[in-house]
């Protein structure tokens, strides 16, 4: 499917999606609550067949967090970037996708560790890199560590 087809197909599932084509891939902006139904459809619908999640990360835009999912279909060779906006920064929550793509399990633990996004229904949500008694989430822009030195 090309970009236009992808756009119209996704709009059929989720009319509220906002598209952004400035970058290399088609970006689909959605709200965090809408993520799971859409992403489930993207994986299971053979028209999309996004079977490969090659990058999962989070961006801290100071007033909100944004989950970024890079999806690729090995069969159709099309790529989209799904961006889920998490408005609640303090108590950020989003549905897990690790029952759809197994690779998400560790990647989501990494995001939880470094950004503090809680993944609902994640089987084993623990800190991945940092120790359990670590305070704060280092990759957030407002993270302060008194031991950090600036060059």
């Amino acid at each position: 499917m090309n970009t236009e087809e992808l756009k119209s197909s996704i709009s059929n599932i989720l009319p509220s999606a906002i598209y952004d084509e400035t970058g290399e891939f088609l970006n689909v902006n959605i709200a965090s609550e809408e993520l799971y139904p859409l992403i489930n459809e993207l994986r299971s619908n053979s028209e999309f067949d996004f079977d490969y999640l090659f990058c999962l990360t989070c961006i801290d835009w100071k007033d909100h967090l944004m989950m970024v999912y890079h999806l690729l279909s090995k069969t159709h060779q099309h790529t989209i970037v799904l961006k889920a906006k998490i408005s609640n920064r303090e108590n950020s929550e989003i549905e897990t996708v690790c029952n759809i793509w197994r690779t998400a399990e560790l990647l989501e633990r990494e995001v939880f560790d470094l950004f503090g996004v809680k993944f609902i229904n994640h089987p084993d949500l623990r800190r991945l890199f940092l120790s359990d008694d670590w305070n704060g989430y280092p990759l957030r822009k407002d993270y302060v560590d008194e031991n950090m030195i600036s060059l």
Partner: protein, 374 residues
Amino acid sequence: MRGLIEDDYVTDEGEFVINIGPQHPSTHGVLHLKVWLDGETVKKVQPHLGFIHRSIEKMSESLSYRNFIFATSRMDYLAAHINNEACALTVEKGLQLEVPDRAKYIRTILAELTRLQSHLLWWGCTGLDLGAVTPFFYAFREREYIMEIMEETCGARLTQNFMVPGGVMYDIHPNFQKRTKEVLIQIKSKFQEYDNIMTGNVIFENRTKGVGFLSKEDAISYGVTGPTARASGVSCDIRKLIPYSAYDQVQFDEILGTGGDCYARYMIRMHEMKQSVSIIEQLIDNIPEGEFQAKTKNVIKLPKGEFYQRVETPRGELGVFIVSDGAASPYRIKYRSPGFSNLSALPLMAKGGKIGDLVAIMSTIDLVIPDIDR
């Protein structure tokens, strides 16, 4: 959320839990695997990471676009060139900068030399992990020749930092082509020896055949890339799918296996070494004349936006994701490291095998721990 310590030691009656690592000969660094055993059989594996986490992503947020490249050499230290190249390519993509052909060729040759030396080291370490010490030294002998090429042209052996946005740091050394050709002849003559001492060996075959099976569907679902995925039949060579640098100029095969076991992964890498030799042979005499570096501004500023570049490292797909807000340093950098995803499939592969199989699997998926922890 339950605490790590508390969770670790609550086990059912009769479970035998051993901790492999963080200091263990076959984890190749500071990986910690918690292994549940039933006699010799592995029931469950749980990786614990973070022993060498340096938060390179956070560090890079305060470095300029010229500077952040050096830190990626410390991620996958066996493929420093390719990591650096990925960063340089991402910055070039953001700047929409056309890299001179000469720089592209030099980058490709150096990247393939890196792949060759990484695979050689992996071959030696696989032997070591399976209990044969001698192959390690044979592999290091050939690897040393490649290291000398690196040292002569780039100035360093492992962490070269030779890539800059727009090209390479220096032109190649006058001896580069001659030395590379000599080394290739040397390495090609040793492949038969490698097969004699390891590939055909009956003990080695028994240790690897049918061990650590990973199906094609699982490989994709777990995001496994590189030789590990290709052994399961997943076509995922970025050099073929989205050619970058000079890979569109060369003929080479993407080798796909079918077995999905340790032996298939081993054979894929052995064939890849031969492919790398052939790629370098095609390029080495045809390096075009011209500039080795495109002109860039003194202070590089990427336009506002998001840039993603995928490259093929010896271990799989490395993705560099730069989010720019228009400033002189990246707003957010994410490295999608191949080892991280490959490791996530280890518990699946190791389940039901013996402890010896776990070691064989770990060595054939070729884990580099700093790459996983970043």
